[in-house]
Symmetry: C2
Subunit: 156 residues, 2 copies
């Protein structure tokens, strides 16, 4: 667990090996996965990281993992002293932004079954690593219902 609700996100984390989930917990106690970060991906609650305010999110390993972390002030130092870092982190966030926007659009336009198929198409490699409970939490449904969806799809 590299970030807990109520704490400030102090690090931008690079995943060298393994896999993490970033999620929030609603009033009912249900987890909602915002996304996953596997090999060569970056993860952080940017809102908390840059503002210094307590996070509403959790970031937690779902596999044995090794990571590299950079602290806020050190990253700022890099930004100021070497423009390359602005460039690289701009590109990283842009890619994540595009991903998130696509996801939001999918969420609007379709039911859980279609969203599951979209997820499979886009994150095939991840899908086979993740337990269904995590995928269900990503899709915003119960694991039982995901099981029904899978059955339905296989019947077609």
């Amino acid at each position: 667990m590299i970030l807990q609700e109520g704490f400030v996100c102090k690090h931008y984390t690079f995943v060298e090996k393994g896999c993490f989930k970033m999620y929030g917990i609603d009033e009912k106690g249900t987890e909602h996965n915002l996304g996953f970060a596997a090999e060569n991906d970056w993860v952080a609650d940017l809102g908390s990281f840059y503002s210094g305010k307590p996070s509403k999110l959790f970031i937690e390993a779902i596999e044995p993992s090794t990571i590299l972390q950079i602290e806020h002030q050190d990253l700022l130092y890099l930004y100021v002293n070497s423009p390359k870092f602005d460039r690289n982190f701009r590109v990283i966030v842009e890619e994540k932004f595009i991903e998130l926007q696509n996801r939001l659009l999918q969420n609007f336009s379709s039911n859980a079954s279609q969203r599951y198929l979209d997820f499979l198409a886009q994150y095939a490699a991840l899908a086979s690593r993740l337990p269904n409970t995590q995928i269900a939490s990503y899709l915003g449904i119960t694991p039982e219902f995901l099981s029904k969806i899978r059955k339905n799809i296989s019947l077609k």
Copy 2:
């Protein structure tokens, strides 16, 4: 209309005055607003803008507006020749990413009524400018249902 589905997003657009909506249209023909951009905000379909692939989105004025636009190649030129632009556009996207992530979390954790209240709280200035149809499209519901929600809220 500064971007249509099927066309490449050629410009990063700065809104000087007025207001734009960015939306997709699903198989049923329903519009889904991804977001709005008003004064001093930037808007573009970044996926299409950077990849050069046709967009799936529309960007359209909902008020008489004046804008400034920069083309892809010109922005690249600025990136290469002046590190400040990497910095500034990194910050712009980071802010938008944080916004989008908050929205996704809200979408998961709550029903349309709560999402409407969240929208009002966060975009009070926008809410009074936008017709209900546009807000409904942002929330992912029908205008009729938004009307019910408003009634319900006012009854409390």
